[in-house]
């Protein structure tokens, strides 16, 4: 089966995120109220062939650990669609 996997990789809490800060400022300048902290990371969408959902999720997690996220600075989440 083919699964769509949505991976989110975001900078660790506590780590300065200048891009997130810049976005928060820009949103405020554009007049959007109520914006608190903003963090900017990467969204990765994968098409993944796997026997079942659990296998797909395990594979994607392994991909994050090895390549997609930097363990020094980033956290990730994996969501398998369908």
């Amino acid at each position: 089966m083919t699964f769509r996997v949505h991976v989110r990789v975001v900078p660790r809490p506590g780590l300065l995120d200048p891009q997130g800060q810049a976005v928060a400022h820009a949103l405020a300048a554009l007049g959007f109220p109520g914006v608190g902290e903003v963090r900017v990371g990467r969204a990765i969408e994968l098409e993944l062939e796997a026997d079942d959902r659990a296998t797909a999720e395990a594979a994607a997690t392994a991909m994050c650990e090895r390549l997609l996220a930097n363990p020094v600075t980033e956290d990730f989440t994996v969501a398998v669609e369908g």
Binding site: P11, L15, L16, P18, Q19, A22, R42, L67, L68, N70, V72, T73
Partner: protein, 234 residues
């Protein structure tokens, strides 16, 4: 015996030629080494040059870290052999965990290309031996991802163990921020505890011949050649 230097070319490396030349000018026997190689071919020192390995896609250095040659680089480093990463090479070394920390997008969100003033904080490394400790040198730098980060404990350990090799310092009169990318503690380059694995962001190979007005960058390469063939200098 002359020192043998291998300059690795990853797909997307773009500073390998001038790095090779600087090493040769310093008296080393230097050759390019393809990223697919599985051995360093007897090199004493391996240099990971600047550029955009794999386009810097995903994160700079993240994909190059898995290039076949990196296993040999790791083994060489662990055996005490000299490994120098310049700019993208530094990024690869951090991604490969041969050096601690990570290099993130510049705090200003823009690529910054300009000379920087850095202080030589440690001279007992493979490539800074010929500098006077504390010397301040102005070297070209150019990158989008050079903000060095690590957790506080790691930063403290780096300071304690004298692993900071280059640090951005203010010079009087300059109207630019001395730290161009927001690096923690103004760190421009670090090494492992033994000083045989070094990574930094500035590009000494770009200021290494007289026609360009200054040869200060050549001192890094001269230091490399003056270093013992393996293991850390005393």
């Amino acid at each position: 015996m002359t020192i043998r230097v291998a300059v690795i070319r990853f797909p997307g490396s773009n500073c390998e030629s001038e790095t090779l030349e600087a090493a040769r000018r310093a008296g080393a026997t230097a050759e390019l080494l393809d990223y697919r190689a599985t051995s360093l071919g007897g090199a004493d020192v391996v240099i990971l040059p600047g550029g955009f390995s794999y386009g810097d896609y995903l994160r700079s250095g993240a994909i190059a870290r898995f290039a076949p040659v990196m296993q040999a680089v790791r083994a060489h480093a662990e055996a005490g052999g000299g490994v120098l990463g310049i700019c993208n090479g530094f990024q690869v070394l951090c991604e490969a965990h041969l050096l601690p920390g990570a290099l993130l997008h510049n705090a200003g969100q823009r690529f910054v290309a300009r000379p920087v003033d850095v202080r030589i904080e440690r001279t007992s490394t493979i490539c800074t031996g010929l500098f006077r400790p504390g010397a301040v040198v102005r070297i070209p730098q150019a990158h989008g991802e050079g903000r060095f980060v690590a957790d506080e404990a790691t930063l403290d350990a780096l300071e304690r163990d004298n692993q900071v090799v280059l640090r951005y310092v203010p010079v009087p009169g300059s109207d630019l921020p001395h730290n161009p990318n927001g690096s923690a503690r103004d760190i421009a380059g670090i090494c492992n505890p033994a000083g045989n694995v070094v990574g930094f962001m500035p590009h000494p190979e770009r200021l290494a011949e007289a026609t360009l007005g200054d040869t200060i960058g050549q001192t890094f390469f001269a230091s490399l050649v003056g270093a013992p063939t393996s293991g850390a200098p005393a």
